[in-house]
């Protein structure tokens, strides 16, 4: 079954379908109920699923996430929203010390089936505290899963998978993708940790996730005009990331560029680059290159933000560097 939909509506539908399928699924967060969410990702859910399971919270990020952990330990599968990923800094204890560790430090007695939805990404000129891509923070914490869907179909199926997952998932949505239109396949398989070959190619691999997928596609189109066939791996999952798919692609093309919107230094690309260097050293015919944001806070002004965000130009240049 397939029908065109916006990314933000795919999120709402996944939440609604998950609540219909499982009475233990509940939502809470700032303005998710009556207002339908700051980006309308929860619009209509209060009406369909009622005020007990769809709740507005006060502006209390630390306790929103902490309460999700407590609810998860008491039989619920809460999905909470942090309005902007930047605000998750207020809730780090709950995510890092509580959600991620409860299963392990209680000796496997329990699981913490919760989802923390949060939007990241620039492009809205929202400035340094409303635009950051902080997913690497969470990928660094054992016990957490981190996922970042790039397509409408993935927004739905990966959110369903995240809600079904037994452990805490940080579900990262890119604000710039909310209006994206695409087809929905509600019956698509839902798995954790599987990447997707977005476009096959044989000369170089571009590993990416989230909204940067579209910059990678534009880059691949331009490279194709020069006879360069770039293979795009859409990671989808950052923790765990699909080593098998990435390694297979790099073993084929022998050149790789890892592109993401997050700050390049100490980022997701750094980990992947390091793993390729250690495990696939003898497959490399060029240095592993990364394309990420520069080491500065994301600026507000339209011109500054445009210069800051990684784009197709930088990906094209990096791929050409690997072919030099």
């Amino acid at each position: 079954m397939s029908k065109p939909l916006r990314y933000v509506n795919a999120i709402a539908q996944a939440l609604s379908d998950a609540m219909a399928a499982d009475p233990s699924v509940m939502l809470f967060g700032e303005d998710v109920a009556a207002a339908g969410g700051p980006f309308k990702a929860t619009r209509g859910l209060l009406d369909t699923h009622g005020p007990e399971r769809v709740r507005d919270t006060p502006i209390s990020e630390a306790s929103i996430v902490g309460a999700a952990v407590g609810a998860a330990l008491t039989g619920m599968r809460p999905v909470v929203e942090i309005m902007f990923m930047d605000f998750v800094a207020l809730a780090m204890d709950a995510v890092v010390n509580q959600a991620a560790k409860a299963r392990f430090m209680f000796g496997g007695q329990c699981s913490v089936p919760m989802v923390l939805r949060t939007p990241h990404g620039g492009g809205l000129n929202a400035g340094p505290q409303h635009s950051q891509c902080l997913e690497a923070w969470f990928a660094h914490i054992p016990g957490l899963r981190v996922v970042c869907p790039a397509t409408v179909a993935d927004a739905y199926s990966l959110l369903r998978a995240s809600i079904e997952a037994p452990d805490p998932v940080v579900f990262v949505e890119n604000k710039a993708l909310y209006a994206l239109q695409g087809d929905l396949d509600v019956d698509a398989p839902r798995g954790i940790g599987k990447a997707r070959i977005d476009r096959p190619g044989r000369h170089a691999t571009i590993v990416t996730y989230g909204a940067t997928l579209y910059a990678a596609r534009a880059a691949a189109d331009r490279l194709a005009q020069d006879g360069v066939e770039a293979e795009i791996v859409d990671l989808r999952w950052i923790q765990p990331w699909d080593e098998e798919a990435v390694f297979a692609s790099v073993a084929k093309t022998h050149r790789v560029v890892i592109a993401h919107e997050a700050v390049q230094a100490f980022g997701v690309g750094a980990e992947i680059a390091a793993r390729i260097a250690s495990d696939l050293f003898d497959e490399l015919d060029a240095p592993v290159l990364r394309v990420g944001a520069p080491f500065m806070p994301i600026p507000f002004a339209k011109s500054l933000e445009a210069a800051y965000l990684p784009d197709a130009d930088r990906i094209v240049a990096a791929v050409k560097d690997t072919l030099a």
Partner: protein, 416 residues
């Protein structure tokens, strides 16, 4: 899953091979142990066996072609699936699932270091280094096309396509005098090219010196006739080559220092004592001259020596030698006696330290003590020796022991 069958590396020094014969046709199933293909190198023809069951999908290299080690020569799969290459759909399918990772073909031995050229690291990618090792390409002879002259895989593969990858000697003039000459030109066969490369290296790198002497072989020839006349049915005929091998073997057993070779693969070189009494034996075959090793020749009784040597010759002529047949031996005996030559001065076989060139038996008059002519039957011998291991006295002592064995042949009948 469709997989490549590649040109195997059948010996330490093998860099390329001739695809001599396909034993399995496209579409045909095979089982573990079946011979898939026959591959010839400069030394041998080898049958390549399947190491698992499968179906050959297609051959990609025609018979007669020479390809580098590691080059795919055919495609196969376990069940014959994948007969047609899957079309790649670049636009319609949004989710081409990721392929399985390559079989753990990735390195088992750890990354290869960058080679040095004049003390400087030769810039090369890890993949280029791995391919260079697989293909036997010397990175120090290449110029890379990458940034800062970095050698990439493509540079290595281009170099491997060239027929001979030996570096040009520094002293060689930039342009060979032959280069400008007119005339019909052809590529050497693999075997020709390899023989050329190995002998050039041996002649250039091994400091040869030569000792020539004659052995009086009247008694030897008489003994040979008697032995062959007296032979029981089924026992091997004893040839002059066998008798020379036996004489060399007795001398080798008495002079174990001869059974040593010089290894210049380490800085400053090393002397390697072999001590197994193996003796190389030059055999003329339709494919060219080969020198398989008569295993433990120094200690074989004559009968057994003749039998083993005959069998080795037979296998060499039929192209049935294996890589093992070429391993070992510090000395080779090369008998050109059937071709009417007095002295033959040979080039030491690469990896060995001496070679005995054997000429024809000639009838000559020699003066006796009173000056009267006496008919003698003489065999011309030239020992080529590696001066790094032999001085003149030691080489002469060895040669005289050989001559003593040939001139008093009953010694050859004693148990070695």
């Amino acid at each position: 899953m469709v997989r490549d069958l590649v040109m195997p590396k059948l010996g330490l020094t093998m860099t390329e091979g001739v695809l001599a014969e396909w034993r399995v046709s496209p579409g045909q199933p095979f089982k573990t142990g079946d011979v898939l293909v026959v591959v010839e190198t400069d030394k041998i023809a080898s049958e390549v066996e399947a190491d698992s069951d499968g179906v050959l999908i297609e051959t990609t290299i025609p018979v007669g072609e020479t390809v580098a080690v590691g080059t795919p020569i055919a495609r196969w799969s376990a069940d014959g699936s994948g007969a047609a290459p899957a079309p790649v759909n670049g636009t319609a399918s949004p989710a081409v699932e990721a392929p399985a990772p390559p079989a753990k073909a990735a390195p088992k031995t750890g990354p290869l270091p960058a080679p040095l050229r004049d003390g400087e690291r030769v810039l090369s990618t890890p993949l280029a280094r791995r391919r260079a090792q697989d293909l036997g390409v010397d990175l120090t002879t290449l110029t890379g096309s990458g940034p800062r002259g970095r050698i990439k895989m493509a540079d290595v593969e281009a170099a491997a396509q060239r027929p001979v990858s030996t570096p040009a000697p520094v002293s060689e003039p930039a342009l060979s005098p032959v280069a400008a000459l007119a005339g019909e030109r052809s590529k050497p066969t693999t075997m020709q090219a390899t023989i050329a490369r190995r002998l050039t290296a041996a002649k250039r790198d091994v400091p040869h010196f030569y000792l020539a002497a004659e052995a009086e072989v009247s008694e030897l020839m008489a003994l040979r006739e008697k032995l062959n006349a007296d032979a029981e049915p089924g026992s091997p005929r004893v040839s002059m080559t066998h008798l020379v091998l036996a004489a060399v073997g007795r001398a080798l057993a008495a002079t174990p220092d001869v059974d040593r070779v010089w290894d210049d693969s380490t800085p400053g070189g090393e002397i390697l004592s072999l001590g197994r009494g193996d003796i190389g034996m030059a055999v003329d075959t339709p494919r060219g001259l080969v020198a398989p090793v008569l295993r433990g020749g120094a200690r074989l009784p004559l009968d057994r020596l003749a039998r083993d040597a005959a069998a080795l010759t037979e296998r060499a002529r039929n192209g049935r030698l294996s890589a093992e047949d070429f391993e070992g031996g510090a000395i080779t005996v090369s008998n050109a006696g059937m071709h009417n030559v007095t002295f033959m001065t040979s080039i030491i076989n690469p990896g060995q330290s001496s070679i005995l060139g054997v000429g024809s038996v000639r009838s000559v008059f020699r003066p006796d003590e009173s000056g009267a002519p006496v008919l003698k039957r003489e065999l011309g011998l030239v020992l080529s020796a590696d001066h790094r291991l032999f001085d003149g006295v030691a080489a002469l002592a060895f040669l005289n022991r050989i001559i003593a064995g040939l001139e008093r042949p009953l010694r050859l009948l004693r148990t070695a």
